[in-house]
Symmetry: C2
Subunit: 304 residues, 2 copies
């Protein structure tokens, strides 16, 4: 029941030695997801020893180069290493033609299918679901069509009180019922076994949200309500608020405001402009409004 | 009168921590040239502290991703840093549409003109010329249309014997004549000044050739005749000769053979497949045929 995020690139449009362009790797209940894929992402994946052939879902927030120029290289490497497992790619519609054109020019093809899902959401919409997780996309406020994502664990099973269960010699057939919190009728014993004695409530389901790039809007609060962990861009600090407005980015303070209003539990700030030497001003500014905040760094791995 | 090459990426299709995909930076008589631009090239340029805004000419050998996936990122960074100077881009024709499509999707534009020259050469053809240098393109033998390049210094000026010139108090007006090896008629003195006493022969003009990716052909010898320095791919060693043939690449031995036949002075081997741990087998194989050979490494800077 693991849920972790590893930041691969926390820089803005101009990559630096310290901060790669945007990318992050999410492992949620054994689902392996890549969000954004800036130039050099495959090298970051190698550097942090992530088994990138496990990635099955790729989410691209928007088509500014610092969020996807590493995608063709990663797909090519996956192919060269013999991948045959499907990739599910969620991205703005134009990306399909961009990939196809480059593939055609190279004379290459991939031996694995890429299922392409064009993102056009105007509201928060579920774009993926399986037994364990759900992924939602919602519109962000940037210069081109841009999408935020929420990855949520589904409601989990009740937990078994193993020892009591064994002691009472309850039939193993009861387990799937108990996991759902339901009583079990034991036909051999002709007896209804009440679940309550044998179960503990499920651990809480967690959710993670990604917002980059984005100029904060009040209307976005609803998309992030009660998210456990939010990565939000803060390309600028308040000193450069006008620049943030003009380029449709956020300041650290604005990201903190959104987090507070959405009752997010923890905020990570990223997409830091290369113009800043240190991150203290980001932290200080954000903490005035929202205390549980951290600066994301390349390579940092967090548990949601 | 400098002429240097710095290897930025000497790996093959699968980048490794040690070898980036193909790219190199050439400085020739104050002309700044980039050949190929694999993913991560802009990071390499920064790492090796190269002033990349000086680059005016970009040559892309072919449209396999490991030779150009870093181009969009580099152009974007050049633009973000305020470039307004022209770029002259020589590449297979399809690259224009690939760039235009990605620019359109991003909603961006560059504030500098890109002059695009589609490469279609079937023979060795001069594609660029100015007062000091010439660049030639010629076809290589690979799976898609691929081009090699020769960068040559033009014939240089005669050198002045400064002391004799001063001692004899020759008019400064003689200098441009002497530089061309011509005599000068001094009208004030009504006297023909014979150049020979005051000049030394020009230093020899150098040339550098780039061949990647390429399966060696006899017909290529003519393209490389007497080149001073050749960078040639050797993705494989003879042990994997069949793989080389199938993928239209070369072995170290084949690159050495081409160098010997072309009377190249010095050979650098690159585009080394990530399957090999060490480079000794490449060197040993090549040296059996051509002694003046080196393995190119990322960051290595050579004088032509």
């Amino acid at each position: 029941m693991s849920f972790s995020v590893q930041f691969l690139g926390t820089g803005a449009a101009l990559p630096t030695i310290r901060r790669n362009p945007s990318a992050q790797y999410i492992e949620c209940n054994n689902r392996h997801i890549l969000i954004d894929c800036g130039e050099g992402t495959q090298t970051q994946l190698r550097k942090f020893q992530i088994k990138f052939q496990k990635i099955k879902i790729i989410l691209i927030s928007h088509l500014h180069g610092d969020h996807y120029y590493g995608l063709m290289g990663l797909l090519s490497t996956m192919s060269l290493l013999g991948r045959n497992q499907d990739i599910h790619l969620y991205a703005p519609p134009e990306l399909k033609e961009i990939i196809d054109l480059q593939l055609k020019a190279s004379g290459h093809h991939y031996d694995f299918p890429i299922h392409f899902y064009p993102l056009k959401e105007k509201e928060k919409v579920k774009i993926y679901e399986d037994k364990k997780i759900e992924i939602y996309a919602f519109p962000l406020n940037h210069r081109v069509a841009t999408f935020g994502f929420v990855i949520s664990e589904k409601e989990k099973d009740f937990r078994l009180k193993g020892e009591v269960f064994k002691m009472d010699q309850v039939s193993l057939q009861a387990i799937p019922f108990f996991r759902k919190g339901e009583n079990f009728f034991d036909e051999n014993k002709n007896q209804l076994i009440i679940a309550k004695k044998y179960i503990l409530p499920p651990t809480s389901s967690k959710s993670y949200a990604y917002c980059s790039d984005n100029a904060v809007l009040e209307s976005q609060i609803q998309y992030l309500k009660n998210v456990d962990c939010l990565y939000h861009e803060s390309t600028f600090i308040e000193k450069h608020k006008e620049r943030a407005e003009k380029t449709k980015h956020s300041t650290a303070k604005q990201a903190a405001y959104l987090s507070k209003q959405s009752k997010v539990k923890k905020l990570y700030l990223g997409h830091i402009s290369s113009r800043y030497e240190g991150v203290e001003p980001f932290l200080n500014e954000a903490k005035e409004i929202f205390s549980n905040v951290c600066i994301a760094e390349d390579g940092m791995k967090i548990t949601v």
